[in-house]
């Protein structure tokens, strides 16, 4: 407060020097003088002054509040006037005893002071997560046309359910719900089952996000370290790709046996080299796009072959100690586990802007790469093709699973919208934010998919993290990985804090019962992340499973169910509403089941 030089109070009305009575000092900058007092000017100045500036009710309320505040200690929350009995902030004046009035200029607690643009930006920023990296893969799994249609449809569906979440508080009669978040609404309607289940699903989304973060951080740290090492030691590195049975890649290099390389562009020079008595083609860093993995289920095995005049042993030592799934996930523990144990990670909230920069940079990167690569699209409606995927594929639920998490904000949208200055624009601002998010996802997904160089490579090669499709020596993706690595390192403690607060408060009533409780929880979460990075680093899979699970509760079932129950209680439930919302619930269930079947 001391830095704020603008006075909080703005003088309104007459000048104090008009009154010939002894002046009582009232300094508008004296923030400590917070006790409201009120004196009727008529009784002090003159009997004939009929100007009544304060209603009788307001002065009675003032007296009441003053008196009640004397009945409890200042730390006690009892007998604090609730918001609905106080006049609106812009109706409150502070009077000096001589009749001039000061109006409180702005609310200091930040309630309702964000303009629409800021609110829209905050929602966009919160929703934009790492699922953007999996959208091209999702489009590939669903087929190009059906992918676009699904993004639009899921965007609209989740927007409607988000609208239902926002409106759910207003349908509750007789209770002051101004502090409630959506889990509180669930508790109101479903009792302790609602409370526990919303906690469970909230934890699924948080822990799922944290596991994805760990996998991605391992990936980015690995690639960054590799890039730096190679740059320092001036190594020409190529990426060798293992082929798969029955894929077209072997045909391009039928003499290679089990090892084949995919490349685009003319290599600077080509040599053959014998390694393990198999012939491999090797080229120098001319790859624009690579296809590093086998079909899903195999861990990607990037082995690098070194060309350097020196010895190879240093490099092999490095490879042994710096491995994407074996060692790097463990190195992260040293950095992140201490951060998770911090009591209040609000320091990290300051780095929120890194997320925006990362997304903007990704969009920029995608545009530049597309300009280099050009567009490679071919429309085959249902037929499989060597290089292309059909427009409509049976695997489309995998995209809907990813999109459920990509458009997920339902557990905190109420809090985000609460600070909107004009509350009546909430729905409009929310829709605009969803539209912008959908646009961003569509742009990145479509451009990556369309510009993926298909004649030499198959669209099947699009990775679950599209940055993996760029070789580790590509400068632009290196920068992107660095940004994302730092951003994730700052968001990870915040997610851990949210998970810890929700879980421990529910079980122990206290967000920080003891260092042991917190440590055990953090070790469990970190352990899950490390295990996933080690054995199942497919972020597309993790995203779609956790997205469909927590989406089932917060996106599909609870908002619709609560809406139907509140309508039923008010006696306004109609057949169309019932059918539509039951259909939405069934869609959510189908979404979840399909993740496991397909």
């Amino acid at each position: 407060m001391e830095e704020d030089t603008k006075p909080l109070l703005v003088p309104v009305g007459g000048d104090e020097s008009n009154y010939g009575i002894m002046n009582i000092q009232f300094n508008p900058e004296d923030f400590k003088c917070k006790r409201p007092f009120h004196v009727e000017p008529t009784n002090i100045v003159s009997v004939n002054d009929d100007m009544q500036r304060v209603t009788d009710e307001a002065s009675a309320m003032n007296k009441r509040i003053h008196y009640y505040s004397r009945l409890t200690s200042p730390a006690d929350r009892a007998l604090i006037a609730p918001d609905h009995v106080l006049p609106a902030p812009d109706e409150i004046y502070v009077y000096s005893p001589l009749g001039t009035a000061f109006k409180v200029d702005s609310c200091t607690d930040g309630y309702g002071k964000n303009s629409s643009i800021v609110t829209i930006f905050m929602i966009w920023n919160t929703m934009m997560g790492t699922s953007i990296l999996s959208i091209p893969w999702g489009i590939k799994q669903a087929g190009f046309t059906s992918g676009i249609i699904l993004i639009l449809v899921m965007g609209i569906l989740t927007l409607y359910c988000c609208y239902r979440v926002v409106e759910s508080r207003k349908m509750i009669p007789l209770v002051d719900t101004s502090n409630w978040e959506f889990p509180d609404v669930c508790k109101y309607y479903f009792g302790s089952f609602g409370q526990w289940s919303s906690l469970l699903f909230s934890m699924v989304s948080l822990v799922g996000a944290m596991v994805v973060y760990w996998v991605l951080m391992s990936n980015f740290l690995f690639n960054t370290g590799k890039f730096i090492y190679n740059f320092i030691h001036d190594i020409n590195v190529t990426d060798i790709v293992p082929g798969t049975n029955g894929s077209n890649r072997e045909q391009a290099c039928s003499q290679c046996g089990r090892e084949a390389i995919k490349y685009l562009g003319m290599p600077k020079f080509k040599t053959r080299r014998y390694e393990n008595s198999k012939m491999v083609y090797i080229s120098t860093r001319n790859f624009l796009v690579i296809c590093p993995s086998a079909t899903s289920g195999h861990t990607p095995q990037n082995r690098s072959v070194m060309f350097s005049s020196g010895n190879d042993t240093g490099f092999e030592l490095f490879e042994e100690w710096w491995n994407k799934s074996q060692t790097v996930p463990f190195y992260l523990i040293a950095v992140l586990l201490p951060l998770l144990n911090l009591k209040s990670p609000s320091f990290f909230a300051k780095f929120n802007v890194l997320g925006t920069i990362s997304v903007v940079y990704l969009v920029f990167l995608v545009t530049v790469k597309a300009a280099h690569l050009g567009i490679h699209l071919e429309y085959n409606w249902f037929a499989e093709n060597d290089f292309f995927v059909p427009e409509f594929r049976i695997l489309f639920p995998q995209l809907t699973g990813v999109l459920t998490l990509a458009f997920f904000i339902h557990n905190c949208v109420i809090t985000l919208l609460q600070n909107n200055k004009n509350q009546e624009n909430n729905v409009r601002d929310l829709s605009i934010a969803y539209f912008l998010v959908g646009l961003t996802y569509l742009y990145v997904g479509m451009i990556i998919f369309a510009s993926f160089p298909s004649p030499p490579l198959s669209k099947e090669c699009i990775e679950q993290n599209f940055l993996d499709n760029f070789p580790s020596d590509d400068i632009m993706s290196f920068v992107a990985r660095i940004f994302l690595l730092f951003q994730m390192m700052t968001v990870y403690p915040l997610l851990g804090y949210l998970a810890r607060v929700q879980l421990l408060r529910q079980f122990f009533g206290n967000a920080y019962p003891s260092i042991f409780h917190v440590l055990i929880l953090n070790v469990a979460i970190v352990g899950a992340g490390v295990a996933m990075a080690r054995f199942y680093p497919n972020i597309g899979g993790i995203i779609r499973y956790s997205g469909a699970t927590c989406g089932l509760a917060f996106v599909f079932v609870y908002p619709s169910l609560i809406y139907m129950i509140s309508l039923h209680r008010a006696g306004q439930l109609t057949w169309p509403a019932l059918i539509i919302h039951i259909f939405i619930i069934l869609l959510g269930l189908a979404n979840l089941i399909a993740q496991f079947l397909l």
């Binding site: 009710e57 002065s59 009675a60 009441r64 009945l71 007998l79 009995v85």
Partner: protein, 313 residues
């Protein structure tokens, strides 16, 4: 009353969390030493020495709490609690979700009253009305009032709707106190005579502990209808400040060029406030008048019997 005998009591009952402790604190200017959102129920028999309207004692009881210990204690102490009750004030939380249960507990209290103190007066307060939307308040209160009157038969109950955030609480308690005074008409007549003799603008009679207005006389229309509650709150706040210095409030004179107001102890159970708008009358004159009137009003009280209280059975 001889020591050890059960004093006549005013029961303040209602479900846990319905607002009784806040209400008592506000009306009687008791400091709430702890968070009213407490986990346990109130066991508040011997601790309450709030004297009220003579020698009445205010007792708070939580009724129908979830605690089985509370339930058993309540049941076993029932006859003690409901004996010698002058007034039962039952508080209903308007936003309660368990109306059936509330009514059930209310009726069992009424049964106990019927057995032990059948002459007690019953008042029902529908509390926390500020949580109801303004346009629905009358409707909801009317519904509740009908239900309560019906359920209370053969006893008669008077219903009020209250909230601590507007004037309704003060008005309800003032009405309750007003109805507890048997000779109130006579009191008002005497007060009018007194006011006219001393040429006062307004004379108020307050109950001593709570500063609830028992009766008043005004010779011309006053603009502020909330003035009674405001005066009461101001004085109670001042009393709290005095008590922090281990002093007790006795009397006050407020004067400026336009008026003079005198607040003083009147009888053993009342305070008087006299407002004179003629500032030329010296204070001493009004104070003598008040002193003489005091003797007269004390006699009025004593006329009603050997109980030395304003309240007659």
């Amino acid at each position: 009353n001889p020591k050890g005998a059960v004093k006549d009591s005013v029961l303040l009952m209602g479900k846990s969390g319905s607002g009784k402790t806040s209400m008592r604190s506000i009306i009687f200017a008791n400091y709430i030493a702890r968070d009213t959102r407490r986990l346990g129920a109130t066991i508040d028999v011997e601790h309450s020495h709030v004297r009220f309207l003579g020698n009445l004692v205010l007792n708070l009881w939580d009724c129908g709490g979830q605690d089985t210990f509370m339930e058993n204690y309540f049941t076993s102490q029932r006859d003690n609690i409901f004996r010698n009750v002058e007034v039962l004030i039952y508080v209903f939380d308007v936003e309660s979700r368990e109306l059936e249960k509330d009514m059930h507990y209310y009726q069992s209290c009424l049964e106990a009253i019927l057995q032990n103190s059948p002459d007690a007066k019953i008042f029902c307060l529908v509390h926390k009305m500020d949580l109801v939307q303004e346009d629905q308040r009358d409707l909801i209160f009317k519904e509740r009032e009908e239900d309560l009157k019906r359920l209370s038969r053969p006893l008669e109950c008077v219903c009020f709707r209250t909230s601590i955030w507007d004037e309704t609480l003060y008005k309800a308690w003032s009405s309750i106190v007003y109805q507890l005074i048997p000779n109130v008409q006579q009191l008002e007549m005497n007060l009018r005579n007194f006011a006219q003799i001393i040429e006062a603008d307004e004379v108020l009679l307050f109950e001593r502990a709570t500063f609830l207005v028992i009766s008043h006389y005004q010779c011309k229309e006053q603009r502020d209808v909330h003035r009674f509650e405001k005066i009461s709150n101001i004085i109670k706040q001042f009393k709290l400040s005095c008590s922090k210095l281990a002093a007790s409030f006795q009397s006050m004179e407020v004067r400026n060029s336009n008026f003079a107001a005198f607040i003083d102890i009147f009888t053993s159970n009342t305070y008087v406030m006299v407002v004179m708008s003629d500032p030329s009358i010296p204070s001493a004159a009004t104070l003598i008048n008040i002193r003489n009137a005091r003797k007269h009003f004390e006699k009025l009280e004593r006329v009603d019997g050997p109980k030395h209280s304003l309240l007659m059975r």
